[in-house]
Symmetry: C2
Subunit: 316 residues, 2 copies
Amino acid sequence: MSQVLLPRLSKASAPLTREVMAVNEFGAPTPVSIPCERPLTVYVDKRELVTLMTLGAHPELLVLGFLRNQRLVRSVQDIDSIDVDWEVGAAAVKTRDGIADIEERTAKRVVTTGCGQGSVFGDLMAEIDDIALPAAQLTQAQVYDIVNAIRLQESTYKSAGSVHGCALFRGAEMLIFVEDVGRHNAVDTIAGWMWLQNDAPTAGTDLSSLSLEGARAPRGGPSALPPSSYQPMGGADKVFYTTGRLTSEMVIKSAQMGVPFAISRSGITQMGHQVASRVGLCTIGRATNRHFLCYSAAERLVMQPELAGSRVRVVA
Amino acid sequence: MSQVLLPRLSKASAPLTREVMAVNEFGAPTPVSIPCERPLTVYVDKRELVTLMTLGAHPELLVLGFLRNQRLVRSVQDIDSIDVDWEVGAAAVKTRDGIADIEERTAKRVVTTGCGQGSVFGDLMAEIDDIALPAAQLTQAQVYDIVNAIRLQESTYKSAGSVHGCALFRGAEMLIFVEDVGRHNAVDTIAGWMWLQNDAPTAGTDLSSLSLEGARAPRGGPSALPPSSYQPMGGADKVFYTTGRLTSEMVIKSAQMGVPFAISRSGITQMGHQVASRVGLCTIGRATNRHFLCYSAAERLVMQPELAGSRVRVVA
């Protein structure tokens, strides 16, 4: 291959919240914001694949990450373009060479744990044993910085509630924060975004347009790069954060992205724990203020217990 | 049909929580309970249908309710038996006459909002316009009683967290409370349970064995009734409660069960609001202590605003 071809993405946009009138406990009409929720039917090479229910903030990245996390597409270069049209609630994906065996590979259904991906095609679980997570450590101070960054984040959740948020950090630096009505969508969107980021040390081309906003830049933007100058973002130095539970699915997706840390303000389920222990992924739950519980791969966590009680407790 | 045949159900059981060791913020090893989460693959007449991830508290009722809510089975009498075997993680469903067009009816996939059912087969949305909810009202005092009953409920959530709970009330009386790792499972379990309850006024047969526990009574229990003495439980005088968000799916399922009220401690999404408004289902969210917001069909709610501030605020 003489050059790296990145997909062209449309830049569909739609409102994220709407106002409705509710009646409160005093009988008073009260305007409240609620999150939008819209169906997006994904067509791959004109074949209907699935309908995703989404907030609609980053539909192209969502579709890209969905295809990635479902292992239907092995490289971002397999995708020629993704065009989202909210008028008809459709995402048209054009691949360069089609997806082999797509019928067979989308035949098996798993209805996962609540807040989990609806349909996990194929045997994702069977693939986790192939995952080797890189050696990486996180300090307790970084955990606290991450929890605090999430607390300060402006969000649809704060204005309308009823959405889940996921974020990707490099150390304690927040790279991207995504909300959606389902957190499986939020993590898929992050996976799609990572595929468009260039980690190549010799990147000579200005890829700033491939940031979250830039990925939605005018069609036909910079998409052809020499191969030596493109390397999709890796997960080794990253931390995945989710507002929701650490279910098996969230742990698997974090592992698939090569991210060795998953932090949540909520708890963990048995299969999440099992998968994380198996692949050596460090899971940290109940992370609020100074408190947390590290459920697995605690050797990755550099404890600084003196920090646990050293600051004034912040009440969110 | 000369008699009503209710399905035989196995009585599979499995632990609901397990203890794992975590490390807290002081670096101290801490035993914590986490909810179990296990795959249950459903076979209908020996054909694999779907794999559900479940806590495992009431697997037979879950499978029955799943088939009901997916509209794959129109009557409880279509099911001959459900046998769950946790050794192999399988539920074997035997129907009396098969399910017509099962291939076609399970072909369409929708990945719903987080915490939503993974695969909603067919066009559930298309069916909601056929639903006529009965005239029914609920008083503000009953809303408060329901919220308080939930607060007092012993639960896996309290011991291990990371599960969703759903409940069915008659007025302010709690009939059944179900938890699962996904709340779509919890509501399906309730739907399955309702199908086994007899609301026939002339019920001469003792159906006490068809209660939640009784449904798991020894196989071959009372399953044949004269038709006049069996009428599956209706929803007209019921209230559905969920700890999770009022998504379109939860609203649709409540409507399908004929239950005109849905209460949550959480909020509502746009499609939940849209569907509820369309079918006239009264949705009440943010229900904690004395506070709530009624999002739709407020005419069903008998306001008693004098109660809103009349009691000492209970802090859970």
